[in-house]
């Protein structure tokens, strides 16, 4: 189990660096992170299953200017690890799936708080950089930047360990405490989660031209699936 957490911390640090500080190649997206955590903790498809829904949930919050959206990377670390830990040979049941997606919300909010803290500390690093440059030290710029990067990476690593640890604990110890009936009751909330994701996408892409396109496609796909099920 130890090596799994080491791997999760390394992958998590890379994802958190990609989220803000470096490349922004979308390696931090929930689909990528949750699938990777599923692979690390033993069930790729369970990770991908929760990652696909999480991928869309938070899209409505854009990282514009100084605003920080909820930490969907942290939510994916938790849910991917929890999904893999909670799944059995038949996969992840609907109640557990719903529960761990909803339980990942505190991780998304905690990650946001830590991100804000890191950016505040970076303010101090930037101020020290300016002071050093005024004294004629041009290398201070490089030192300042690498200090900021290190801070983002360390915070990402700590969050990854905390969230995957919490995820594995939730998957192994919390969810099994509930019986099949409780899980079936909880699963009643599941249909709303993909619709929440669709609403998130729609709120980003909504214009006078795209609104009819969205609802028309929704109706056609809905009708096509029911038709093929009826015909087949």
């Amino acid at each position: 189990m130890g090596w799994q957490f080491v791997l999760a911390a390394i992958l998590g640090a890379i994802a958190y660096l990609d989220r803000t500080a470096t490349f922004q190649l979308m390696l931090h997206r929930p689909l990528v992170v949750a699938t990777a955590m599923g692979a690390v903790f033993g069930n790729v498809s369970a990770g991908a299953q929760v990652g696909a829904v999480l991928e869309l949930l938070y899209l409505a919050r854009l990282p514009v200017g100084a605003s920080i959206p909820p930490d969907d990377t942290g939510a994916a670390l938790f849910a991917g690890a929890a999904g893999a830990a909670a799944s059995s040979s038949v996969g992840l049941d609907a109640g557990s799936f719903t529960a761990l997606l909803l339980l990942s919300v505190p991780c998304a909010e905690l990650g946001k708080v830590v991100d804000r803290l890191v950016r505040r500390v970076n303010g101090r690093i930037a101020a020290l950089t300016v002071e050093a440059v005024e004294r004629g030290d041009s290398q201070a710029v490089e030192h300042g930047l690498f200090a900021g990067l290190t801070l983002f990476a360390l915070a990402g690593m700590a969050l990854s360990l905390a969230f995957t640890g919490a995820g594995v604990a939730a998957g192994k110890f919390l969810l099994p405490r509930f019986g099949p009936e409780s899980k079936a009751d909880f699963a009643a909330l599941m249909p709303i989660l993909p619709l929440l994701g669709a609403a998130s996408v729609f709120s980003c892409s909504r214009t006078d031209r795209t609104a009819p396109v969205f609802y028309l496609t929704m109706m056609m796909v809905f009708a096509a699936i029911l038709f093929f099920r009826w015909a087949g």
Binding site: T20, A21, Q24, M26, R29, L31, V32, A48, A52, E55, L56, Y58, L59, R61, L62, P63, A66, L102, V105, E109, R120, N122, G123, I125, E134, G136, S138, V141, L145, F146, A147, L149, D185, F186, L189, I192, L193, P194, L195, L196, A198, A199, S200, V201, F202, S203, C204, S205, R206, R209, T210, V213, F214, Y215, T217, M218, M219, V221, F222, L226
Partner: protein
Amino acid sequence: MSEGLSRDVRRSVWRRQFLLQGCWNYEGMQNVGFTYSILPALRQLYGGRPEEMAKALKRHLEYFNTQPSMAGVILGASVRIEERIAARDADPRAIGTFKVGLMGSLGAIGDAYFWGALKPMASVAGAILSLVHPLLGIAALLLLYNLSHLSIRLQGFAAGMAGEESAVQYLKGAGFASRTMDRKIVAAILGGAWAGAAGSRTAILFGGGAASWGFFLVSVLTVHLLTVLFRKAVSPSEVLLFLLIVGTLILLQ
């Protein structure tokens, strides 16, 4: 392309733009990252002139913030202006005016394109294809986003390096408004397909039949209500927390 700077320096500046947000902070935002990116050019231009080097560094440590993937345009053009300042052919204040003048509009264009259109399109395509195979979904997400992302970083930097006028011409000619709208339409189609598939799954779970269209209407109303809430600045986290409370109450019954 700039002739005064070596190819290695230009490549180094281009590579360093990926670390623009490495020391993101609330006061100067991307100031340290921008200075770090342009540093190799400044070192070559002001080699042996420490006082001018210090002044140049201070110029770039001023507040700077734009959409990170669009920063290459400003970075390239700033290198060209610094060349002229180093040759005493331009006023040092020109660089601040140029950066401040462009960063806001580039930020708005970039936010609309990258966060408001390209990312939702790539995300929903990835989510749908991951239902076929997880790796297919991840590949689709990364390819759809990064093909556009990396080409804009490359083209934007090259246009900036060709001069300020070329940078402005690039922004006018790149057609960001139409590209944004195209990707929003694709995102809406894919988002609609995702919502239709989710709604039909619920209808089938409850037995299908004539009542299915009732489920469709409920799905449409749910999406519409949630979209209105998001537009009124309600966070998805707040909706999810509400659902978590409802779920806990169901369990406690």
